[in-house]
Subunit: 199 residues, 2 copies
């Protein structure tokens, strides 16, 4: 743990409060209106506490995006269906939880945000890596056909999660977030099963 | 056609140029930085030409969103697959064409934009109505099973289109837009076919 110049250890709870507030301010206001002032107010700390940790607002937002939007993990449950449900659930939570606004905002203003593409790529690459690993295990186990498209599987599952989050008004977000795991199952079962009538 | 106070008919080409510029400025800058000045500059017209048509920036953006993000149409081709391809193609173009930034921006800042929810609902409702009509025809024709979920079908197809557009860097957008119709077919065929191995 890093120490302050006075030798007092930094409080990780404060770090967490600041990065969470930074992600929320960024999600609500965007980069053009993002400021150390606004983050300090929302976190309930003094500006000095922030400058002690990060030299400027670029570094503050970079830390917030790195810790709050860390990406998704590949979870090997032994079943392709349950692996995909775990993936869909993580994507849903990334969009619906308190930092969800920051995730959506990042996608929109990736080109005008310092290091925006880097932050977004980290999230997208974690998704793609998890999807690839899940599909390969599914093919190896004989649960998926050998020519399954990782891109289409990821676009329909991750996009289905994103669309669900985007069409949720903010006032219902907490309620919808509470039902996210159930929706993840419905979404994956829908994608994995054919909806057409066998001819 | 409306006439100016001087009796000269309004030029519809200028109307179109202004609403397109307004959608582009909104997509690039968001509501907080949207101004009649910026729209006039981008459209290459004087501010007077805009105020002749719309009393303020609220009315200007409302007109731009109403004409440029008009929603999707239900196209009855006789085949559920081709109906869905037509729907997916329209959604892809809504996100990838020159007004695509405005569509994404609207989804993000719907709560802070005057009448934002109204504009977004018009688009979402046009999508949902088209999806419902397509599914009902598909069930009537025996091409879809009777319990097909309209919501999940729409979330995976529309979300699959959205994810494709969002993960496309701006510099590749025109190229990806040119391939949108082909991607719409791949996406629909993927959703309609089961990817799992029949057991």
């Amino acid at each position: 743990m890093a120490a302050t110049p006075a030798g007092r250890p930094r409080d990780p709870e404060v770090d967490e409060r600041i990065t969470r507030a930074a992600a929320e301010v960024y999600g609500a206001e965007g980069w053009a209106r993002f400021s150390v002032d606004a983050v300090a107010r929302r976190a309930g700390v003094g500006k000095a506490s922030i400058y002690l940790r990060w030299p400027n607002k670029e570094a503050l937002l970079a830390a917030a995006l790195a810790t709050r939007l860390a990406g998704v993990r590949d979870i090997d449950t032994g079943s392709v269906r349950d692996d995909l449900v775990a993936l869909a659930g993580q994507v849903l939570h990334a969009f619906l939880d308190e930092s969800g606004g920051a995730m959506l905002r990042l996608m929109l203003e990736v080109e005008s945000l310092p290091a925006g593409q880097e932050h977004l790529d980290r999230f997208l690459q974690s998704q793609a890596a998890a999807a690839r690993a899940i599909v390969h295990r599914g093919i190896d186990r004989g649960q998926l056909s050998g020519d399954t498209s990782v891109t289409l599987l990821l676009n329909t599952i991750s996009g289905g999660a994103l669309n669900h989050a985007l069409t949720t008004p903010a006032r219902l977000r907490a309620k919808v977030a509470a039902g996210a795991d159930r929706y993840a199952e419905e979404l994956v079962d829908f994608v994995l099963a054919s909806v057409t009538v066998p001819s």
